[in-house]
Symmetry: C2
Subunit: 304 residues, 2 copies
């Protein structure tokens, strides 16, 4: 298919996900134009999935498109931001136009599920990969950084961990692989409460120990995790939960005054319907221990 014909067909697949009343210019011009809510700052991140590295080259386009969107959007959730729009850069081998259309359907499904719009992209020939830049907003000065955890904070995680790793290894049913690995849900429903209450946050893409390690290093602090409190996904191992990536749950720290059990009113965690679990306390020092012992390893290293 000709480049411009394929772009038109992709736009059709995006459907209403490519439209927004806050986007005066969308797909089809040199750039898109988007309007931020007044008093908000722009929150931006970019992520890449490469065939053969992050997904099998024969994986269905629809699954890759959905997952690529959620993986990227997860970085907005980890800042406490609400999503606005994405730009999708697709590198496509010859004769993969049909795959690209399926990718677009999956991306559109994720966009609609998260109230994100697809503002534009780029299409070029080469070895299969997708880079998605994601953009959201939050009220000025409310971003939840990695570097601002405080001694005395409690470390929490959303949801259960290790399901994606165990499913990828083949230890769980295909339905679990589909839900936990292929269809992660960016925890954007937590954005508001995170920016109102959390001192620090990160999304768990490379494993709890490694990703919490980034928070502790950036904050100059330490944490001892209680293994009995780690919410292990049914059928996964504790090691999957500690070191397995791809879950895209959030790990965050709450000050004592904001512990869910003590909360009142509009920041109630229970009302969100997303389970969260306290797994340890932040203390002075550096690094992570588990039940008082240093962990034997960290997590997924892209370049090792």
């Amino acid at each position: 298919m000709d480049e411009f014909a394929l772009i038109d067909a992709l736009k059709t697949r995006f459907g209403s996900a490519a439209l927004s009343d806050r986007m005066p210019v969308g797909i089809g011009d040199d750039s898109s134009v988007n309007i931020l809510p007044p008093g908000h700052e722009l929150v931006s991140s970019i992520d890449t999935l490469v065939a053969g590295t992050h997904f099998p080259a024969e994986a269905p386009g629809r699954l890759v498109g959905y997952r690529a969107m959620m993986v990227s959007l997860s970085d907005l959730a980890a800042m406490g931001a609400d999503p606005l729009f994405v730009l999708i850069a697709l590198i496509l081998p010859d004769d993969q136009s049909d795959w690209a259309l399926e990718f677009a359907s999956g991306a559109a499904e994720a966009a609609l599920a998260t109230r994100t719009h697809i503002a534009g992209g780029n299409l070029t020939r080469g070895p299969l990969s997708a880079s998605i830049s994601v953009h959201g907003s939050l009220p000025s000065s409310t971003a939840v950084k990695r570097s601002s955890a405080k001694p005395g904070d409690t470390v929490y995680v959303s949801g259960h961990l290790g399901g994606a790793a165990a499913a990828l290894r083949g230890d769980l049913k295909d339905a679990v692989l589909n839900e936990r690995y292929w269809r992660p849900k960016a925890r954007l429903d937590l954005s508001t409460v995170l920016r109102l209450t959390a001192t620090a946050a990160i999304d768990i893409s490379d494993g709890l120990v490694q990703d919490l390690g980034h928070v502790l290093r950036a904050s100059g602090l330490a944490c001892d995790l209680r293994s009995k409190d780690i919410p292990v996904f049914p059928g996964a191992s504790l090691a999957d939960a500690l070191y397995g990536g791809d879950d895209y749950e959030l790990c965050f720290t709450l000050p004592p005054s904001d512990h869910p059990a003590r909360q009142r009113g509009h920041t109630s965690w229970e009302s969100l319907g997303i389970p969260i679990f306290p797994i340890g306390e932040v203390t002075a020092g550096s690094g992570i221990t588990i039940d008082g012992q240093p962990p034997p390893r960290t997590g997924y290293r892209h370049f090792v």
Copy 2:
């Protein structure tokens, strides 16, 4: 080099290009946070350069980094936007850490030259490519679209065309190849005057005839180009200027009231020091003719 060590080294190469007083959160968190000027809209685009398709795999990283930035930023100039920041997604084969550092130096040079800052990125293993998402701003409702040219407008181009194509073919000196192909200058200096005066604009990445064709199609109009008025780069052919890509000059339309010769005051084109050339008039109808004849071809097609 380990992933996190390489990210630190890249950040060092970016230097002051990775800092801005309008960026409360930069490289090293889940997302970057940027502040837009009040009353402005956000203008965003993404572009990809793939080794083997857009540049030789053995090309120096510094040149690829510089060019990738300018190619992407050119899409902001074509909207009349001022640049704010970029996100860089690099897919890197094994053992190319040194190349990545050179890429970063070239990207930083382009960032400093255009007062753009580098807000973040992503680094992963795979076949060499770089996707850069670029973000700028302009006062609300001043974006220069492709679709709003009007009958009676004059079509202009900035600078001389065909130099990159002729140089790539080996017909010009290496110094020209370096300047016109490897070191295009995104015409961001034209952004202000474009959004004040132009009815439509596009950057010339795939050749004048093809790119002006996009403007005419989007606007539902026609244009007859005068071949004698096309500003051909010294040593290039008229065909290079009409069909050769990679120049990253701008093509735009001005209404009769805004022709440079009739202008007064702050929108003076002369004061910008960038030559612009009238090459034809927009009329009712559809498509492009050259001296009254249909062109024999269009320009670079990525997917043909």
